[in-house]
């Protein structure tokens, strides 16, 4: 069924997973779960001797059980049909690790239901909801202006990003790039670059650019441009990988150049989906621009954070209502347009 090489890898992988699971269980148990139950606070600072011992014991225990056929590593990698005590132990290790994670999560998130329903808490909730529901209409002009700024900022970010994404996406499509080693290298490099920059949230880009070009809409727009290029490139490239290869072959058979093959057989199959992705991206960017405004990216988000800082809840209510309405309209309109494009 599998080659010796694959069997070796899954055996090593199984032991590694067992060891990690044991170390994790030991650490969480001794550092978080036990102290927070006993003293109501989890461990801080560097690893203590006890924690290291617990990790070692956990590792040793799980690896040992794994050698007797009761490790979770092998059952995750190979899914063998087990019965008897090994099956019971394997399942229990799995549930135990999961339960420890839930308890640790509860501790770290400082979950405290009593705060949600205390008299003081409910009073605060009443105050803010009543303020939000009686918005301050005096600032409506100012708020609308900021909202318009945000919409244009999102539009500009999308508009600037599109040509870059369009150009890069062809180099990020596996089906166009796998016929020569140097093309594969470019493909791998660009894929890495776009995946990496996509994994950095626009909020973080906004912080970077607010230091670079100063706080304001321009920094927000730049943050969105970077994120949009990365996201659209991925969507465009996936669409290109989905095209029908028949027309490509037909155009290539006429003796056309590579650029002509792409232009005349790939692009026509992609324009409509590309347009659809782009409109959706603008819609997403309006929402993101709002959030980016919170960290100094300008527009309505910026205004929101200022009134929040002053605890002017009626003004905040007005802004929230405007954001909600605009986001809702954008959502409906872009969905309609994309539907019509199909």
């Amino acid at each position: 069924m599998s080659t010796p090489r694959q069997r070796l890898f899954s055996a090593i992988g199984g032991v590694a997973i067992d060891a990690l699971a044991g170390a994790y269980a030991g650490l969480i148990l001794v550092r978080v779960v036990v102290p927070s139950v006993l003293y109501g606070a989890e461990g801080t600072g560097p690893l203590s001797v006890e924690e290291c011992i617990a990790m070692a014991l956990g590792t040793a225990g799980c690896v040992l059980l794994g050698l007797f056929g009761a490790g979770i590593g092998r059952s995750l990698l190979e899914r063998p049909q087990r019965s008897g005590w090994q099956a019971v132990v394997t399942a229990n290790i799995g549930w135990f690790v999961f339960a420890l994670t839930v308890v640790a999560g509860w501790v770290y998130a400082r979950i405290d239901p009593s705060a949600l329903f205390s008299a003081q808490g409910l009073q605060g909730a009443g105050r803010i909801f009543s303020a939000l529901l009686s918005p301050e209409f005096d600032i409506i002009g100012e708020a609308l202006r900021a909202m318009v700024e945000t919409i244009y900022l999102a539009f500009m970010a999308t508009f600037i990003a599109v040509p870059f994404s369009f150009a890069i996406s062809f180099f990020c499509a596996r089906n166009l790039m796998n016929d020569a080693p140097h093309r594969r290298a470019i493909y791998v490099f660009l894929r890495f670059l776009t995946n990496f920059s996509r994994s950095i949230e626009p909020l973080i880009w906004a912080i970077v650019f607010s230091v670079w070009v100063g706080i304001g809409p321009f920094a927000g727009m730049l943050a969105l441009v970077v994120h949009t290029i990365a996201s659209l490139t991925k969507q465009y490239a996936e669409q290109i990988e989905d095209v029908d290869h028949g027309p490509m072959e037909a155009i290539a058979a006429t003796g056309a150049r590579r650029s002509q093959v792409i232009w005349f057989s790939v692009v026509p199959q992609c324009v409509i989906p590309f347009l659809s992705f782009t409109i959706y991206r603008w819609d997403i960017n309006v929402r993101m621009a709002t959030i980016i405004g919170l960290v100094g990216g300008g527009g309505i988000g910026n205004m929101l954070i200022q009134y929040q800082g002053l605890a002017r809840w009626n003004e905040v209510g007005m802004i929230v209502i405007i954001i909600a309405i605009v986001v809702w309209i954008m959502d409906v309109v872009s969905a309609r347009v994309r539907e019509a494009l199909k």
Binding site: G246, A250, A253, T254, G255, F264
Partner: protein, 255 residues
């Protein structure tokens, strides 16, 4: 007669290790209508694509017009492809573009890239494309979108596109496999016109023996990537039929 295409000991192994062609040899004379038959998966399409070098053979030789094109690359490869028209079972037109443009794309190989991508086809090229459409009888549909046409009409547009290349050779990979019998004959007759009146050498994959007997001047049969028969259409007897298609096969007529 002159030998136009000469396939010598041709073998092709796909990157995944599958041997699709095994030591295939045959000659095609100028002006012939050679039909290639064989079961699904026997390597017919692969053979076509090695002749116009959409694929590169792993072994053996392909000679066209006395020139070895087995491993040509770059400009020489494009020049080689340009001299051979190709039509496909799935037509492979650019669906969203007009019929006329689809035919014009047959001229891409002889244009600078920027000029074609700017859509600047010359008056002569447009006239030529219209003439090609007239040959296949659909000049009146030139401004329709390609996907607005029926299957048979789309295949005729594909023939016009190939014709635009002024090819010496036309490769047809199961040109009628997705058409009904009546439409099949109308498409096959256009291939016959190109062959008889324009002297184009045709190499065509077909599935139906009745079509083979009607249109082929000679037949090559492949089985499992190897040539198992070469001869005249009327030489395909019951025994040969079984040898090519297997014992279970029953011949189906198409009229």
């Amino acid at each position: 007669m002159d030998t136009l295409v000469s396939v010598r000991n041709l073998s092709l192994t796909y990157p995944n290790g599958y041997r699709a062609l095994k030591d295939v040899s045959f000659d095609v004379q100028a002006g012939e209508f050679l039909v290639v038959i064989g079961l699904s998966g026997s390597g017919k399409s692969t053979l076509m694509r090695t002749i116009n070098r959409l694929l590169e053979p792993t072994d053996g030789q392909v000679m066209v017009g006395g020139q070895d094109v087995t491993h040509v690359a770059g400009e020489a490869l494009r020049h080689h492809r340009r001299s051979i028209g190709m039509i496909f079972q799935q037509f492979n037109l650019i669906k969203r573009h007009s019929v006329l443009h689809n035919v014009l794309y047959g001229a891409l190989g002889e244009m600078p890239a920027w000029q074609s991508m700017a859509g600047r086809f010359s008056k002569e090229q447009v006239d030529e494309a219209m003439r090609c459409l007239e040959v296949v009888g659909i000049a009146d549909r030139c401004h329709h979108r390609a996907d607005a046409l029926s299957g048979g009409q789309q295949q005729r547009v594909a023939i016009a596109r190939a014709l635009m290349q002024r090819p010496k050779i036309l490769l047809a990979d199961e040109p009628v496999a997705s058409l009904d019998p009546a439409t099949s004959h109308s498409v096959m007759r256009y291939l016959e016109v190109l062959n008889k009146e324009y002297g184009t050498t045709v190499i065509c994959n077909l599935h139906f023996l009745s079509l083979v007997r009607q249109y082929a001047s000679r037949v090559v049969a492949l089985k499992g990537g190897a040539k198992v028969f070469e001869g005249m259409p009327e030489e395909i007897t019951e025994e040969w039929f079984r040898a090519i298609y297997g014992d279970e096969a029953v011949e189906v007529e198409i009229r």
